[in-house]
Homo-oligomer: 348 residues x 2
């Protein structure tokens, strides 16, 4: 996001540099991180996760890679809902597992998740709210996934890092909040890095839904293999989740306006590009497949409009002909981005 | 260490908080870390490591755990020179490998490394300078280890984090500097966290001695499983290795005095406790076995003298009856520590 960092976070980081205590304190801060996580989940979603089985990580990609390694074996299949944030695919392929695609279905107004049988896969990587489509899955969709996971004895990793970004009219439901049976097989992974714009501070967490799940992970991946999270990251995250609500409300007001601007612009100026209003996230998933642009839309807009978008082909086969637009910027910059895209298309 | 942090490091950290850019910059800083590492090795030890195969980690324990996982299999033996810093033993046991002890031999003036046959182990974890004994292994000792490793096709992890602390008269030799054949099977791991007192910033590195070794590691442990190091840690480490030499010279002057104070004190006041002058490190390895203290020396000195030492039994079987003293503190505090230990012993 182009929105800087909340004042309370800046104060926390400056205080650490003033204290200049760079010893082993960070290894004792995990309980504070777990408490802040639980408080934030309770306040935002009415969900009370336990704090006993929370493990810090540097980032959620590290979490994906280690969880896939811990809960599946080489050659086994892992389910993802495509198109999907590319590191999900990497975490499966680069650890020698097989990607099992459950494609989201475009019903004309939004992408929906069908739940085919889970067959014999050991795990599902769920991304909710979904990146790149911006879907906030509804309770009945999540209940279908949960029922299938329970029926087939499947572990679910629920990446909920965009949960704070749900727009008016959409309610995020943590998967593990559905009930104890699904919680016991769910690892929720999240961080303050997206909503509070601090990815460089390298701090996220894994919340294991049961002691048994936590022990299975520890037996496969000893804790020290993860590296201990740093003090700046942990203290900034605690600040984000406990004292930065006003700052984030301003961010959401800007994002809500940007989202309307994006959807309205493509509908009016470039109707040949398909886009559904995201229900969460600052991402727009643009279907450019009807344009048949030379070299694909990512290369076209980069070279012709000097606008950098994410290439949909990185998000799995259904991403062909798509690009992902990040609209977390100021109104004039977003206007310039959209105008450049329109001018580039009108020139061809 | 009780010595604070060098001014240039404090300035770097304050600059980062003033810029308040906590985005994805940290993922682009690895080359700067590799360059600073190479420059420091060249300046200190006349060794020019390559910079192409340097991988940041959060700490060297993470490095040990991931390297043992990558270069050995469950059930296989891994050699360590005991007594040894406890995480070495943890990295072998908690990943399901077997500890193969090569015991250092006390020749009356110092601990020496004999090199029994490496048999069929796939790897050796070398700690040089050695924690806890403070040995700086001599070139001929390292050459014997290197020859055995080459003969038996063994991978060597060389933890050289205490290299900067070699006292006058002792010269640290990086294992990988002995020649290309041993370099090609060595992973050197180090950080600025000990010498520059910044463990809380969570930054170290692994330097792979050949492209083939790097690729073998990558195939076993995908990079993203490590978590990306944070910007504070990387920039502080670069500062430490490029602009903090004067600060460290002052630290060494204090440590040199402390080391003489410790050795002289035990020789004069408590000759029943055996200690060899460490050749590097701020650690003294105290042999209290002749005292037969109730509950062992660690518990005795904690309860009776209110002095916290590391329990030798954590360092493997030869650590029985020993404690490790950290003497990186100011002269009056060190004096108080030593006096308390003497008074406690004189009371029994």
């Amino acid at each position: 996001m182009d929105f800087g960092v909340a004042d309370p976070i800046e104060r926390v980081l400056r205080r650490i540099t003033e204290e200049a205590a760079y010893g082993y304190e960070s290894s004792t801060l995990s309980p504070a991180l777990a408490d802040a996580f639980a408080a934030h989940m309770q306040a935002q979603f009415g969900w009370q996760p336990g704090t006993a089985h929370v493990v810090p990580v540097a980032d959620l990609v590290q979490a994906l890679f280690t969880l896939v390694t811990a809960f599946s074996s080489r050659g086994q299949g892992v389910v993802v809902h495509t198109p999907i944030y590319p590191p999900f695919l990497d975490s499966i392929r680069l650890t020698g597992r097989r990607v099992v695609e459950h494609r989201l279905r475009d019903d004309g107004t939004r992408f929906v998740v069908d739940t085919p049988s889970l067959g014999d896969v050991p795990m599902v990587l769920l991304c909710n709210p979904h990146n790149p489509t911006g879907r906030v899955f509804e309770r009945h969709e999540l209940e279908a996934i949960a029922a299938a996971a329970i029926e087939h004895d499947v572990i679910v990793v629920a990446d909920e890092v965009h949960a704070d970004f749900a727009y008016t009219g959409h309610q995020h439901t943590p998967l593990a909040s559905l009930g104890p049976e699904i919680a016991a097989r769910t690892i929720t992974i999240t961080s303050a890095t997206k909503a509070y714009n601090i990815p460089g501070l390298r701090c996220g967490l894994m919340s294991f839904g049961s002691a048994e799940l936590r022990e299975r992970f520890r037996a496969a991946i000893p804790d020290r293999m993860l590296g201990i999270a740093n003090r700046f990251g942990i203290e900034a995250t605690v600040s984000a989740w406990t004292e930065c609500g006003d700052w984030f409300a301003d961010v959401m007001a800007q994002l809500q306006a940007n989202r309307e601007q994006v959807v309205e612009f493509f509908g009016r100026e470039l109707p040949e590009i398909g886009v559904h209003a995201p229900e969460a996230t600052y991402l727009a998933w643009l279907d450019c497949s009807r344009l048949s642009l030379p070299g694909g839309p990512q290369q076209f807009f980069l070279e012709t409009a000097r606008v950098a978008l994410n290439d949909g082909t990185d998000f799995g086969p259904p991403g062909r002909g798509h690009v992902r637009l990040n609209f977390a910027t100021a109104t004039p910059i977003l206007g310039e981005i959209l105008d450049r895209m329109a001018r580039a298309l009108h020139r061809i």
